[in-house]
């Protein structure tokens, strides 16, 4: 009633901060400046002065201590693996190997110039060149992404929360939510449903996870064969899966098993800077990843 009265009088007070709602036009014109100095408005504002300090200043609330403990996995890489990998990947007089690239049309049609180029031969997508191996591009594990998508979450979103917690317990990193990307009638899943969680590991958490995985989890999996020699995306990124039973071998889960009545399997995607899967597997074998099967003949 009160609001009706206001409207009838034409005294509508708008509290929205957006200019469109305040009766102004939605037209933004950024005027070009006459100088080359970049202006950081946060620094000119008197609010939150401690956030303007450098990130490695202890007074900044975003400060994180960098080296809290020894990282034996990273040290193993720099002390031993790097030079070994350089030696193993080395080939004298190596040439840069062109990847598969899109091809020109033959020009038989007048529409060819404006058409997108033909697909490469033998592949749907372009593949990168294989560059010469030097001391500058020794393969390294860049990151590991743990992807925990659980089917159970479609009926009960609580499973997604549990899955996220499981990831956090294992990795000690904050997971991100995973939503289904589109409607899949066959799975009974709608777009936007919370279906699980994922976490990308880098640096110390990566080392920690890697050593737990290879030293504690893998040895306890019964009849574990290891990574397949045929797995990978051809550009040096490998992936494998752990079932929900195998998850319980992680010490963080195992020590608290009565709390974990239900565990969730996950995908482990390992992103390396290796140029081919073979080299990526070679790199992983150094960390104690068992690898089964033989390499493809035309792996190189």
């Amino acid at each position: 009633m009160f609001s009706q009265k206001l409207v009838s009088q034409g005294n509508i007070r708008l509290f929205s901060t957006s200019s469109a709602a305040a009766g102004r036009v939605g037209c933004s014109l950024v005027k070009p400046v006459h100088h080359l100095i970049k202006i950081d408005k946060n620094k000119l504002s008197p609010r939150f002065p401690e956030l303007n300090l450098e990130k490695n200043d202890i007074r900044n609330p975003g400060f994180r201590p960098v080296a809290t403990h020894q990282d034996r996995v990273a040290e193993h890489y720099t002390n031993t693996l790097q030079s070994d990998l350089l030696l193993m990947n080395f080939q004298h007089n190596q040439r840069r190997k062109e990847g598969l690239k899109r091809r020109q049309w033959d020009g038989s049609s007048p529409n060819h110039p404006s058409r997108t180029l033909r697909k490469p031969k033998g592949s749907e997508v372009e593949t990168p060149d294989i560059k010469i191996y030097t001391d500058k591009n020794i393969p390294i594990i860049e990151s590991i992404t743990l992807n925990c998508y659980t089917k159970l979450a479609k009926d009960n979103a609580n499973h997604a929360i549990s899955a996220a917690l499981q990831l956090q317990q294992i990795t000690n990193c904050k997971p991100k939510p995973l939503h289904s990307r589109k409607d899949v009638i066959a799975w009974g899943v709608r777009r936007g449903w919370l279906m699980g969680a994922k976490v990308e590991l880098k640096g110390r958490p990566l080392s920690q996870f890697l050593s737990t995985l290879t030293e504690i989890v893998f040895p306890r999996i019964r009849e574990f064969k290891g990574l397949s020699s045929r797995a990978g995306d051809k550009t040096g990124n490998l992936s494998m899966g752990l079932t929900h039973e195998e998850i319980s071998f992680f010490p963080e889960i195992e020590s608290n098993q009565d709390q974990w009545s239900k565990t969730y399997g996950m995908h482990i995607n390992i992103k390396t800077t290796a140029q081919t899967d073979t080299e990526a597997r070679r790199l992983l074998s150094a960390y104690g990843f068992p690898i089964h099967g033989t390499e493809r003949k035309n792996a190189f």
């Binding site: 490695n56 790097q82 004298h92 929360i161 070679r282 104690g288 390499e295």
Partner: protein
């Protein structure tokens, strides 16, 4: 002991969540007895309670440590330590890089020499071994040695056999 309703509700809330109907009404004061549970049996199912616990574990609240208050002198000292750590790491990185560059150069030179002296040996040395891997026994060094330091009588498994069996 009589307390105002607002205060007592805070005291009971601190033990856990209350359902809407259980939050004491503002009308009359209630008696608070220390140690006595004032709420009835929770209507939250154990499943929901579990999810609440899980969400609270996931949330960042209370996990952010308080900012250390350092004196001016200690701030400068702390800054010096961080700078020194940066310098030390940078030196290490530079040395590592130069070592690798040297190794690469040496390998390249050796192979060039070999090519000019003995072509056959060179070809053998330059074969790309696709299946070459680190042995499974290769370990990331640990702080403490294993119970048995070295397996002198170790015989590696024949990989080809196992794959055939599979």
């Amino acid at each position: 002991m009589l307390r105002s309703s607002a205060k007592s509700s805070i005291q009971t809330l601190s033990r856990g969540f209350l359902s809407a109907e259980q939050i004491p009404s503002k009308s009359g004061p209630i008696q608070f007895v220390r140690g006595k549970r004032t709420k009835k049996v929770s209507s939250i199912s154990p499943q929901t309670q579990k999810i609440i616990t899980q969400l609270s574990v996931l949330s960042a609240r209370k996990k952010v440590p308080r900012v250390l208050k350092l004196s001016n002198e200690d701030l400068v000292r702390h800054d010096a330590v961080q700078r020194a750590w940066g310098v030390y790491q940078k030196d290490k990185r530079i040395k590592n890089k130069s070592d690798l560059a040297k190794q690469y150069e040496a390998m390249n030179n050796a192979m060039t020499d070999l090519k000019s002296t003995n072509r056959e040996l060179y070809d053998l040395a330059n074969v790309r071994e696709v299946n070459k891997k680190f042995p499974l026994e290769f370990r990331i060094p640990t702080h403490f040695p294993p119970n048995k330091v070295w397996y002198y009588d170790y015989v590696p498994k024949d990989e080809t056999k196992t794959t055939k069996e599979n």
